[in-house]
């Protein structure tokens, strides 16, 4: 089997997604054997412009990054977006909600004009993304699964069912029974329900399923004492860029 050349890139994000690749530990050597990593922002000093598959972390938040992602798009035949920031803009989009100018003012005061910062957008606003490994951080096994699928020529299976399924497979007690709210019923699975496993509510870091019952979720959260504002905040934590579409989806 031929080894595809792979570049792993970091844009605006926390580096956690790339770290999850390094965190593969047991599979890392197999991975290095299966693909040729020619670029890895976080782990390799060398730099290469010769790759077929680009794995991209982070959202686009500067003019400079628009150029970078376009260049990556020109070179790579396949683009895999990893992590909420790259897939949906992620938490970075809270900045958009706050207001770009206001945010610059707050953090950089009089120097704000010097700062290269634009409205945060996910990667697929600028280039075509072939596969998404959602989540904040993404599930490292899902990243492996995508890479493996690309090698053997299979379409990676990305669940389109709610987190509750995995949560129940894992035998968890639903956190609602403990008085904790959870976005599990509308959020896309694939994380192995890691938040409910730790007795915490799902925050929809992988986004929502294709056909979420938003109205039911609102009713439910209301019942647990959340205000409309709280509910929107819950939905928006990782999905502010796409927040509007969540709302529209149920109409």
């Amino acid at each position: 089997m031929r080894k595809p050349k792979v570049g792993i890139f970091g844009l605006t994000g926390c580096g956690g997604c790339q770290l999850e690749i390094l965190n593969l530990e047991d599979q890392l050597l197999d991975l290095v054997n299966a693909i040729e990593i020619v670029h890895f922002t976080e782990a390799i000093t060398e730099y290469s412009d010769n790759y077929e598959i680009a794995i991209v972390e982070g959202s686009i938040s500067t003019m400079h990054e628009i150029e970078r992602i376009k260049k990556i798009g020109d070179i790579a035949g396949t683009i895999v977006a990893i992590g909420a920031c790259a897939v949906s803009g992620g938490l970075n989009c809270l900045k958009n909600l706050y207001g770009l100018e206001k945010a610059k003012e707050l953090v950089y005061r009089d120097k704000k004009k010097l700062i290269d910062s634009i409205e945060v957008k996910p990667v697929d606003e600028y280039v075509k993304v072939d596969y998404y490994a959602r989540g904040c951080p993404p599930n490292r096994f899902e990243i492996v699964d995508i890479i493996r699928s690309l090698i053997v020529g299979k379409k990676p299976e990305i669940p389109n069912y709610p987190v509750c399924i995995e949560c129940k497979r894992n035998g968890n007690t639903c956190v609602y029974e403990l008085g904790i709210t959870c976005l599990g019923p509308i959020s896309r699975a694939g994380c192995n329900s890691r938040c409910p496993n730790s007795v915490s509510g799902c925050e929809a870091c992988r986004g929502v399923i294709d056909d979420p019952n938003i109205n039911a979720q609102k009713d439910l959260l209301k019942e647990y004492g959340l205000t409309v504002e709280d509910i929107l905040k819950e939905f928006n934590l990782y999905n502010a860029c796409r927040g509007k579409t969540i709302e529209q989806k149920n109409k």
């Binding site: 053997v152 020529g153 299979k154 379409k155």
Partner: protein
């Protein structure tokens, strides 16, 4: 727990037997025919199937999917599948080469085309698109024992001339003269001289007496309703109409439940049902 079943076997119904692809033929832009032979002699000798039955084919590392057997049940050394490049497993299969190995479970399906009952009757075969594949085994069997059957008619509709399957075979049928053929395409090209439009429109032309005729039908889900309506108009009896149904299958052996329709499982009770069997099953068609 004493269940009264003998669980001595160390095998599982989910383990495929290894087989070899010995020939690959591209018969249309999206379909290939695969000739398959089991590695193990004993398994090969035991493998026996009836028209309409299917196998579960594993591409190792990729997945499994059900495919109907299209070859004549009389051939015991090999069997053939016709596969459309439609998804993961089928795409991988299309990328394979002669000599490569796959896994096979089966044959499955207790519901098959009743070739015994059809004897001494007319047989009407109606196929849409890839639906011709599951009927191939039946047609080949009948032609093998041609004298046992009365009149035979094949109505076959394809999207366009290019996508017509088994062109050579169809040519051969028309040369034989003892089988009537009605071909139709939705989108003709310049050279097309045959019928145009959905193949259900051809059913009114059938002249067979309904009491003396069996119909075998296979096609995409939307086709069935129209075919049944037309056959009903012709006063065909529901117990004489046989349909091959398609549902999602994970196991093929009646466990995973994905293919159930009411109290029937497509994999073990079908995939071929008489219309009578499923008449009152909501969701069936």
């Amino acid at each position: 727990m004493v269940l009264g079943v003998n669980a001595a076997s160390k095998n599982t119904i989910y383990a495929p037997d290894v087989a070899r692809i010995t020939r690959i033929e591209q018969i249309s832009p999206t379909e290939k025919v695969f000739k398959i032979v089991f590695d193990d002699e004993e398994i090969k000798n035991k493998f026996e199937f009836k028209p309409g039955q299917f196998v579960e084919l594993t591409v190792f590392g990729l997945g499994e999917a059900p495919f109907s057997i299209i070859s004549n049940p009389k051939n015991r050394d090999f069997f053939k599948l016709c596969v459309r490049n439609a998804g993961s497993v089928s795409r991988a299969l299309h990328n394979m080469e002669e000599g490569e190995r796959v896994g096979i479970r089966g044959p499955f399906g207790n519901g098959y085309f009743p070739y015994e009952k059809m004897k001494n009757h007319n047989v009407l075969l109606i196929a849409g698109g890839l639906g011709l594949a599951p009927l191939m085994s039946l047609i080949r069997y009948i032609l093998h024992y041609r004298e046992d059957y009365k009149e035979i008619m094949v109505i076959y509709g394809a999207v366009n001339p290019e996508s017509i399957l088994f062109k050579n075979e169809i040519q051969y049928w028309s040369n034989r003269g003892d089988i009537s053929l009605c071909l139709s395409v939705d989108n003709p090209d310049d050279k097309w001289t045959g019928e145009i439009g959905v193949c259900t429109k051809l059913i009114p032309r059938v002249k067979f007496p309904p009491d003396d005729t069996y119909a075998a039908v296979c096609g995409p889900p939307i086709m069935y309703k129209y075919v049944i309506d037309e056959l009903k108009k012709k006063k065909f009896k529901p117990e004489n109409i046989y349909l091959s149904l398609e549902r999602r299958m994970e196991c093929g052996v009646g466990k995973c439940n994905h293919c159930h329709i009411g109290d029937k499982l497509v994999c073990v009770d079908g995939p071929v049902f008489s219309l009578w069997q499923i008449k009152n099953l909501k969701e069936a068609i």
